[in-house]
Symmetry: C2
Subunit: 349 residues, 2 copies
């Protein structure tokens, strides 16, 4: 049976959801996808490291009690030896699911670089490595004959990058515009119902949409990183974050919302990038009062959406979840499917 061996670097909610999917639906997936998925390494700040070349018992890992570590397990240690595991695992695919510093993308960038340099393909849902070091990491992947895939770095598991690559080939994409942050979209919706921004943010936190520190959501810096990724991937912009003008939703007032509604419009936080008249790309994050006829105007709550403006097809829009641990785990799975389609299985028997 064709097989991919996987190392999970970071074992938070998303990586755990992928492990649960492999445990619960592994046989179905093997039949549908034509290859088996086997986890051979896990590292995590709290759990430590575990390397088992002939396959980890995912049921045992998923049943660990709070406070347990891999110390004493066959192949295990209490120390989270990320770099050692990335370089020495027998896995052919490394799932980078740690965290990312929005300034330099670390430690995720170093994890991805180490994996690619040691000849492993990488999937990540971290924005940092893609937005801040995407060109370098793609070059290293190419030099090493492996793949760097990151569908989940924008709009979670909802296919946006792969939608463009796999279904729009032959079109010229002139612009891309999106609702790329569920928290700010939820907050604007609640403000339409009369809630203050502060109360709406608190409610979004209670519902699990917003981070403990919602600054990146409200001020637009989360969207800014995603716009860099979209502009570079879809329009070949070669941008960094400082090239994307940014204004968040903090300046949108109750009066603005009432006034927009009277004109048949809705405020949305829009990340956009378009080919400008001088042949370059202009990108921005800003609140926009969209007419109801805009395909993005009806996107509600934590849902995200991206509109592609194209030559032959006009505007095409994809909408779906922009967060969630199972939804984001699907982004990892879909990257693995794409790696398999490009490189074939590591093990064939």
């Amino acid at each position: 049976m064709n097989r991919h061996d996987i190392a999970l670097i970071g074992f938070g909610g998303v990586a755990r959801a992928l492990a649960e999917t492999i445990r619960d639906r592994g046989a179905d997936l093997t039949r549908e996808l034509g290859f088996e998925l086997r986890v051979v390494a896990i590292t995590d700040l709290r759990l430590g490291s575990l390397m088992v070349a002939d396959g980890i018992d995912l049921g045992a890992v998923l049943d660990m009690e709070p406070g347990d570590t891999f110390a004493g397990w066959h192949g295990g240690t209490a120390a989270p030896q990320n770099d050692y595991v990335i370089r020495n695992t027998t896995a052919d695919i490394v799932v980078e699911a740690t965290f990312t510093n929005p300034v330099d993308g670390e430690p995720a960038v170093s994890h991805v670089r180490a994996a690619l340099e040691s000849g492993k393909s990488v999937t990540t849902t971290n924005k940092g490595p893609v937005a801040l070091a995407g060109a370098e990491l793609n070059r290293i992947a190419e030099e090493n004959g492996v793949r760097f895939e990151y569908e989940g770095s924008v709009v979670s598991g909802t296919p946006v990058l792969r939608f463009a690559e796999k279904t729009l080939a032959g079109l010229r994409i002139n612009a891309v515009r999106g609702i790329l942050n569920g928290t700010s979209n939820y907050v604007l919706g609640q403000m339409e119902l009369g809630m203050t921004l502060e109360d709406a943010v608190a409610e979004a936190q209670g519902l699990g949409y917003a981070e403990a520190d919602p600054t990146a959501d409200i001020e637009g810096s989360d969207v800014q990183l995603k716009v860099v990724i979209l502009a570079n991937e879809l329009l070949g912009a070669g941008m960094t974050t400082t090239d994307v003008q940014r204004r968040g939703i903090a300046g949108v007032t109750a009066a603005d919302i009432v006034e927009a509604a009277a004109r048949g419009r809705r405020w949305k936080l829009i990340g956009s990038a378009f080919r400008n008249a001088s042949g370059g790309v202009t990108a921005a994050v800003e609140p926009v009062a969209l007419p109801l006829s805009d395909p993005l105007a009806g996107i509600n709550g934590p849902t995200n959406a991206v509109s592609f403006e194209t030559d032959m097809l006009g505007t095409v829009t994809v909408s779906g979840p922009g967060a969630g641990r199972v939804e984001t785990a699907f982004a990892l799975l879909s990257d693995i499917v794409a790696i398999d389609a490009q490189l074939g299985a590591a093990v064939t028997a």
Copy 2:
């Protein structure tokens, strides 16, 4: 240079738009896609037939005066010898763009069968062959080592079938629901503004959305064929049209629309198919008063959309144009890209 040679069977608006694209953007497409497109045969009821193995001068064909035929052209005749051309063309891809009888799918079914049997891949935007003979034609394609592609048979060039195939692999699709007919969606929107159904249909005809005979749009039989295709492709239903319950929009009254609006709802003509409790698939076409929170509720005018309900990702929706000659020509182009990805180029040099 890698190359695909193409035969255009039928030279109406959509095939003409593809020819214009190849004439105007051929060099760009070759660079972007990695293969050249060359038209080596054209047949048409009014123009006759033209076969030129080393490539037709598309500029000359597109500049023909009304009433001109291919009689007297090198390789040309005034007779539209569809079957002869399909069997004897040097093309490796046949573009079936004639018309289709909604009862038996002819003559398109015979054209597709002849092309596949003679070892050519086929792309069509005709619903008939896919909805009425899809299983047989896919089997013939497989037996002959060629491809039968039909992205444009549902929602024009907006990627729906390929979206599911290429970006949702690994998910279980439990249901699919769509706004699949632009005319009826436009008419319902105008009725919301106070217009009668009859006046709205006349306006849609004036705008070019509705056919001279709008029965298939209003009564739902156009959507019924598309639901068969979605149910068979995405849910493996093995259905025929009689398995899809059908009710059009003729019974939706002005009072229904006012009453729905008062409840925050909008009437939409919804084609749907879902896995039922007994393991089969249930499919229907019917007007539904959708809550505004539904991703299909905000789809306006001639735009179409399809929502996929999945296990890991919840609901994902694609919206875009559901008609238009250039938009539909992109469906043909995207099928050719898919055929190339599967089979490689016919000519490599």
